[in-house]
Symmetry: C2
Subunit: 660 residues, 2 copies
């Protein structure tokens, strides 16, 4: 970038000024919010949205736009001010004036899906950066697949703004280490280094050498000032020139800059400046009135809008030309970006076949991945145990076409990166670890759900039947805990056949994340009482063992379906008619109309549920539950089950008990 | 340490040999386990347990022992072999032969409370190291308080053995960064650097410069070989000589060393070597027979036992002398190490007083902390918002008597460090963050529960009443998810008065972790229908509004008790008699005998539950639930509640509905 002209500098200064005025007034009016970042980083915002980002506010979903992630999501007014100034329709002055009010497109933290121009939901610290790593990875994957020597159809950068908080969180470290390994050169992270967090000086708990740490991860680290446009442009140019390493640009800054009495103190971080200080700040900034917008800034962005639109239209033309030259690639592109599931030829099993559902999951994955070349994913260093290898090479610095991602022992970053891949568009993604370690990635799964992203979580070793590894590795409460998160679909297939259908259901679910809960242990394929079960199961359950006017219905999930079938046989001997329902997804079933629910579980019949985990959540459906209300034990799976009283006999006893 | 004599070297080699033979045979017999680490790090084990650790197997709970944490918990046979050799009674040859069987004191992963000599439960990677940071911090706190110029009563080291997996996990980075800031010079971490993880070479996903990263955290980093005793002793001496920085000792090693065909491959990591390879390994090691124990190793440890015992008895004598010289300190010591709650003079409120329960929590904390000088704790950079400041200085490098810990924005490490402080003994500990970020620390809370450690989790901003910060900051499923973990006691007090009692209950609960779920918003103190409520509440619930032969009982928690009281008043107008029960702890209530439960919630009466979160878990107690089954929204708290239909009117309507 050339020397910044006086004219441009003035424009940018006015834009920064407007970020400050809009932010402080919106926060003051809401009587809630975080002025520290928008005031402290306003210059970077002006530089980014005015000069650095390749974007077109008239088409916020343009696939080849640069991504910008405000990882320090509490500074949301930074983003809204800039989206408003840039001309994103979604953020009107009314929205800004209704900052943090119900129904405003300027909610407390940036929310994906609520506001055009917001690339991901942020606020839970550290995750924005990790999600950006996923976006940058996705860019390289799609670039490798679709670009030709003549045409760079996919060619964009991923920028992040993060603060001290994000860099203290472990997830950012996990993701940054992997980004270094993967050589994501088009990832550029700005570190708003103001040395202040909520508690006060970062010295209280955080005096490490962040630059050295990032160099250790294999990043390029650059240093500059937040308030020198020329320097910012020069550093971004340096970052862009580095093709093989992500860049961390450390910008020394002053939190709440412009507020005469609060800048450079923790007071500026997370509370409105206060009416008096707003007056003082406006006086210092030499502006008057509320929600001041600099006319020069408006004129500047108006001018830029024309340029941006032209730039995007140029890309559209190049894309059209590329499409003509590469019709096959274009057809694949359309498939990729549609996100639709291409039906796979799923593996077939016979009654009596024996397979762990993780193994059956692997067969299904291989078919699905073959039919859906846009599916990428991997495991947190458990490729073998999770059984998630498929016919591809590892994604790496030298092989961007590899679709298997070695995430390393980094569950949380894995899930956040998967969110980034999903959000980027063009790819479907799965990730995997042991079920019990869903706890490690839970905050990112929550964001998958909140953002309605179709990330598939393959979580194997799904109960105490893990066996020898013991209670640290045996989930008892984990499946129940995942079902609690609004919008998460938990599928726990009962055998290999159900597992194949479960993979299909996961791929068909594009409204949010799906968890596939799969067994470590071998399970026998059982006969299905419903000849149309492959359709019925999509309501969340179907009848495995049918009885007319049953005395009891057992609802079972996963490996407990076979247990239920055995208990039913046992109960038959004492004259009880037992219907068995395999409930692959309780959430789906519970959403069905009464008619459908009662077709599976007739009213006024004793209902017993069986799941190798806590009973909480089943009481609404069942009169009794065969459950496990304590941590497990180390031992062979069957011995552990026996030790915990989780047996066919115990289930049969619950069948026999008098209805309550 | 002097030059290692030939005799000592031979002893140590035989000890290392025995670690290898016992480990491979136990794993082979169990047909399950991880030989890679015990075989690869056997020499360090011999050096540690034979020469480096200050311990006495005849008194595994000796308070001034060095702590050793096997953070790479999957290598549990490393630990069991060495505990057995050293003479810890808890690990017999029978236990080793029953490795990974139900009832064995050699379970799959090391479990605190199951096996004497195991300092913490490990297996979930990264947490062992973070927990060790807590132990090392606790040592400095107690040393500062109890040591005198004459007597060093508290003076021990905390050693950790971790592998590549632990160092990839974000939690270890969080904790290490804080350990650097806190200058925990008596923390010494060995890094078993074998460059292999489950998926294969660490190069697949982890090529960062770990040494440089640790230097960036402010650690001393030393390098050596796993197989050079002299070097190990020299490096440990160097680590001990460094008083102000924790030390990372990077030991180059070979995974599965000794196994001719599997060493240095991922195959050695997590599966038995196989019968043939066990034979080949024994041949290579020149031993025969199963579960071979070297007689020289036994003789060596026998000799050491005498030395260790004498050393510990010397300490006992010094402790007795110190006690005589410092009777006040000794009295305080006894109080500290008893762990018992010293009753505090709790704050008093009047009906109609208004206070957020987080604010009331702060008042209670201040009283409790005054009466219990062994209580330490802090927040993940939310001291003000969580309201957890109390009358003390920050714990720091220069003030080891400070009791407030600035954990930084590191929720997960905070909880793991708190586990370490609790496990160390002598201190009580609390930690805090926003309720929604319980997800970030969940894996450590699970370990608090599994280890029955009385860590107090102060989780504020406990519902959608967080308001403006929006769905990323509004828990809806979080409280329910915490109740699922076996052994976690979740207390959600209804007003300021209940909050004071809740703090007392938390301090009195020494059988596991307690969560205090506290409100951001102001709550009015309500009249209590039960004059003895402060006692009754300890069964988990009491009657706030009493009715003879009520038509309906509302069970409410936290801020919803006032909502229930309003709804009851409203229902009264239409002739319904409504009893209101404040249920501070559902888990406690559910454990009560029927007699007690029915004294609060009469049978055959319609029951409605009210909690600002998901209904899952309440269906077992209530016929209807006023709940929130979706993510929240950004807006002022009352507006959000109204928008979500979470109102007095909605609750009153549920009262009116016909019993099901």
């Amino acid at each position: 970038m050339d020397k910044v002209t006086t004219e441009k500098r003035e424009y940018l200064e006015k834009a920064a000024l407007t970020v400050r005025t809009l932010s402080m007034d919106a926060i003051q009016k809401a009587n809630s919010g975080h002025p520290g970042l928008p005031l402290g980083a306003a210059e970077l915002g002006a530089a980014l949205y005015g000069e650095i980002l390749k974007h077109d506010p008239s088409d916020p979903k343009w696939v080849d736009r640069d991504r910008f992630i405000l990882s320090a999501g509490h500074g949301s007014m930074f983003l809204y001010s800039l989206l408003y100034l840039s001309g994103y329709e979604d953020v009107s002055m009314d929205d800004i004036k209704a900052f943090r009010q119900v129904g405003s497109r300027a909610p407390g933290h940036p929310e994906y899906g609520v506001t055009g121009g917001v690339e991901t939901t942020t606020g839970p610290l550290g995750q924005g950066l990790a999600t950006a790593v996923g976006m940058a990875a996705a860019e390289t994957m799609l670039a490798a697949r679709f670009n030709t020597e003549e045409d760079m159809i996919v060619d964009h950068y991923t920028y992040v703004l993060c603060g001290d908080g994000c860099l203290q969180e472990g997830v950012s470290g996990e993701a940054s280490s992997l980004a270094g390994r993967l050589g994501l050169g088009k990832l550029i992270v700005f570190y708003d280094s103001n040395k202040i967090t909520i508690d006060g000086s970062t010295d209280l708990s955080f005096n490490e050498d962040v630059a050295a740490r990032y160099r250790a991860y294999g990043w390029q680290v650059l240093n500059g000032s937040m308030y020198d446009f020329e320097e910012i442009f020069r550093l971004v140019a340096e970052a862009k020139a580095e093709a093989e390493r992500p860049s961390l640009i450390v910008l020394k800054s002053i939190i709440g800059k412009g507020s005469p009495h609060k800048q450079n103190t923790a007071d500026a971080h997370g509370a409105p400046l206060g009416a008096d200080e707003v007056v003082a700040t406006k006086a210092a900034l030499r502006v008057s009135g509320d929600f001041f917008v600099s006319p020069s800034a408006v004129a500047y962005f108006k001018m830029k809008q024309t340029e941006w639109k032209k730039n995007r239209e140029d890309w559209e033309r190049r894309f059209a030309a590329w499409s003509r030259k590469n019709p096959e690639k274009r057809a694949e592109w359309d498939l990729f970006y549609s996100g639709a599931y291409m039906p796979a030829s799923l593996p077939v099993y016979a009654v009596g076949d024996k397979a762990a559902t993780r193994a059956a999951g692997n067969k299904a994955l291989r078919s699905v991945a073959k039919a859906n070349q846009n599916l990428v994913g991997g495991s947190a260093d458990l490729k073998g145990p999770n059984a998630v290898g498929f016919d591809t090479d590892p994604f790496s610095m030298t092989n961007r076409l590899g679709r298997y991602i070695h995430f390393g022992v980094r569950e949380f970053a894995m899930a956040a990166i998967s969110n980034g891949i999903a959000l980027h568009g063009g790819l479907r993604v799965f990730c995997s670890t042991f079920m019990v370690f869903a706890d490690y990635l839970r905050p990112a799964l929550r964001l998958s759900a909140l953002m309605k992203q179709p990330v598939i979580y393959v979580l194997t070793h799904d109960s105490i039947y893990v066996g020898e590894d013991g209670p640290t590795h045996q989930p008892v409460e984990t499946i129940a805990s995942l079902r609690l998160i609004p919008g998460v679909t938990v599928l726990r297939p009962g055998d290999a056949e159900e597992t194949a259908v479960a993979w299909e259901m996961a791929m068909e679910n594009r409204d949010g994340p799906t968890v596939l809960a799969l067994s470590r242990q071998t399970i026998t394929v059982f006969p299905k009482g419903d000849p149309d079960w492959k359709n019925t199961i999509k309501v969340g359950a179907y009848i495995v063992r049918k009885e007319n006017n049953p005395d009891v219905v057992i609802i079972a999930t996963g490996s407990e379906v076979n247990l239920a079938l055995s208990a039913a046989t046992l109960a038959e001997e004492s004259g009880k008619k037992v219907q068995v329902v395999s409930m692959i997804c309780r959430e789906l079933f519970e959403r069905q109309p009464v008619l459908i629910r009662e077709a599976l579980v007739p009213p006024s019949v004793r209902v017993v549920a069986a799941e190798a985990g806590v009973k909480s959540g089943w009481e609404g459906l069942a009169d009794a539950v065969l459950s496990i209300e304590r941590f497990g034990e180390s031992g062979p799976a069957d011995k552990v089950a026996e030790h915990l009283g989780f047996t066919v006999e115990a289930l049969a006893k619950l069948i026999e008990a008098e209805p309550v």
